[in-house]
Amino acid sequence: MANKPAAKPSSPNQPAQKPVPPKSTASDEKRTFEPKYNWMNKTRQWGVRVKPGKAGLRLGDLNVGIYGETPTQWADQSRNPRGAVPRRGMPPVGYSIRDKAGLWADCAADLYEEAIQRRWAPATDVPWDTIEPLPDDVEHAVCQVCTELVGYANVDIETITGWQHQMSYGYHEVKQFLATASFDAARHYECFRKRALANGGGLGLEGPGMVNRMILESRGGWTEAVVYLLIMRGTFAMTLYKYLGRHAHNDAERFIYGHALADKARHVTYALDHLKYAMAHADDVLQVVRTLIAIGEGGLTRDLRDPVLAEALAVVFGRGVAKAAGRGMAVYGDMMRDYVATYLGYCQWLGVPRDPARLPPPLNEYANPTGAEA
């Protein structure tokens, strides 16, 4: 396969080849037409002139006049752009998410533009040449962790894409942000796979999959999926990236974990904003989230009791098997305490505070910030 990409993208401002105008035949030139113009003047608001600001012309800048009105329910089942004059009698496309409370976050438009500005390409932006051979035990551990992270990215991809097409276009900002989120996940998928295959190792053992299934089976609604995918798993992944970045073996790994962390932070930001909105605007969501969290913690702890990821992380943090049980596990403990503290903080902020003592083991064991036995 000659699968090589173009060397360098052409600059957006670089002139393109001028197209050759299509030939008009002699018969074309003689033809005359009788336009109806019955589409003219059909607009709900005219005279809109949005100007680019310091950061260009952003999606959120367009929310002026009627174009910024996002109703609490979007009854239109067609692909009518928000603010356009609808065409009546169109067969419905069939969106299942038509309530604003089911997906909205005020920050979605800003996160969309931020994601585009912070785009990166694993093939060319990661300094792959900085990867040097590692001791075999460490390479095994890095590859095992990357295998798990590929699995996480896979669930991000499958979950988000499974919901995107069900969201109505009245709330296009969210759909557009989620396009960046699934594209981020695609990048994470390839990037962690690349790292596993770049340094004399290979992929490791697949994860236990309890949380994966829990996320994918969140069929009750997008909000439910957000709780599991972006709050529980997302916060955990974010914490992993943070600690893996601190214990990176080379600049390539530092770059990967740092950028994955920035991407994931956007996803979690959306999640927090959305859940806050949903709880404030829809009956019972707060109670539902409280219940989901309690159930989800059970699933999460089942995965956490599996020793593979913990041990692999301990080997990475301990820089080898020799110090994995001691120093490595101590850092793992710090990481878990960091995760639980962040997670509990998010729950508190959302208005669904958790009693640390009632978290299922082993989560409750990391709820004590000092690490001392309760």
Binding site: T43, Y67, Q117, A198
Partner: protein
């Protein structure tokens, strides 16, 4: 309390170190960095003909018998979705991402005569609308495809991102110059036989990538003729780059399908029959739908007073669309339809003239 939590040392099992995929793999970055083609080496490069992966594990990873089944994947046969240049298209998509906020010189937009601005806004409304379908549908198919075929999935995810940007750039254009959105056409609603309702990936791809996006690509390539200012030229140029990748995906997939599943060729011809019926229809901006073709005629003619000139250009573009469609289908390996009388494209080209 666990040892990790209380700081005590615990004995490690480390059995996972013996449970890996093929080991001693060392993919090397090439001239274009470390691409996904570069990591398709050894067993890691072998996508199975039929995937039995129901746990979502990465291709080549060691399976864990106790892992939960998570994927009820509808697309598990390689020939249903595969193409030979997915790695190239994906890496190119990453390299050519752009920002509609900052890469388009919005300041070059100047006020236009009202008829031209209305036409621009009608076209932008239509393009916003059709880009919706091109984002929704590939996303749905990604969620249904086993990760053993991750390369085509990656391309489709890049497409969803591209379409999202196209949606926003045309919305931005409609609201940037004293106009506004106009009336939706409804051209992409849930009609029987539409892109949405495809029950098979190749069926969807032949409608979306080959005929639908192919027609739009021809149009975007005429951007230099249609644009009123540098901002619009940049928009059409960048959108054309993206659209060309999407069309390439469809053509290359059809070619792969044609070569590896010849028993499905007749079925594919049926999809192409349907697709050809839509080539001059409502979902084509230079088709026979009044709001878009009239607005295009005003844009191409330079105003209502030159409507006939504009319409004649539209007819020429329509003819070019059909010729390019025919080339793509031939390239995909289904060219016999143009020789055995099955396709109406030759007649449509004649009629367009």
């Amino acid at each position: 309390m666990s040892e990790a939590a209380n700081g005590a040392e615990r004995e490690l099992d480390l059995g996972w170190m013996d449970r890996t995929g093929p080991w001693e793999t060392r993919a090397e970055p090439g001239k274009y960095g470390l691409t996904i083609a570069d990591i398709s080496i050894g067993d890691y490069g072998d996508a199975p003909e039929v995937s039995d992966n129901l746990t979502g594990r990465a291709r080549g990873a060691a399976a864990r018998p106790a892992s939960y089944r998570i994927g009820a994947y509808a697309v598990r046969s390689k020939n249903e979705i595969w193409l030979d240049n997915a790695s190239f298209l994906y890496e190119e998509a990453l390299q050519r991402q752009w920002s509609s906020a900052t890469d388009v010189p919005w300041h070059t937009i100047e006020p236009l005569p009202d008829d031209v601005e209305q036409a621009e806004c009608q076209l932008a409304t239509f393009l916003t609308e059709v880009e919706f379908v091109a984002g929704d549908v590939p996303a749905r198919w990604v969620s249904l495809t086993t990760p053993d075929f991750y390369e085509p999935r990656q391309v489709l995810l890049a497409q969803v991102m591209d379409e999202s940007r196209h949606m926003d750039v045309f919305r931005k254009r409609a609201l940037a110059n004293g106009g506004g959105l106009m009336q939706a056409t409804g051209a992409t609603s849930g009609f029987v036989g539409s892109i949405d309702l495809s029950r098979d990936f190749t069926e969807m791809s032949s409608r979306l990538h080959v005929s639908g996006e192919g027609a739009v690509l021809t149009l975007f390539r005429m951007g230099e003729l249609m644009a009123q200012n540098e901002a619009e030229k940049v928009i059409y140029r960048l959108c054309a780059q993206d659209e060309a990748r999407h069309v390439a995906f469809g053509v290359m997939h059809l070619r792969y399908m044609s070569e590896t599943a010849p028993e499905r060729r007749e079925e594919i011809h049926c999809y192409l029959d349907e697709a050809e019926g839509g080539l001059i229809g409502a979902a084509n901006p230079v088709g026979q739908l009044t709001p878009t073709s009239e607005s295009m005629a005003i844009i191409l003619g330079g105003g209502k007073e030159n409507f006939d000139d504009g319409m004649n250009k539209i007819i020429a573009i329509r003819r070019r669309q059909l010729q390019e469609y025919r080339k793509r289908v031939i390239s995909a390996g289904f060219g016999e339809r143009f020789e055995n009388g099955r396709s109406r494209v030759a007649q449509m080209i004649e009629e367009a003239a």
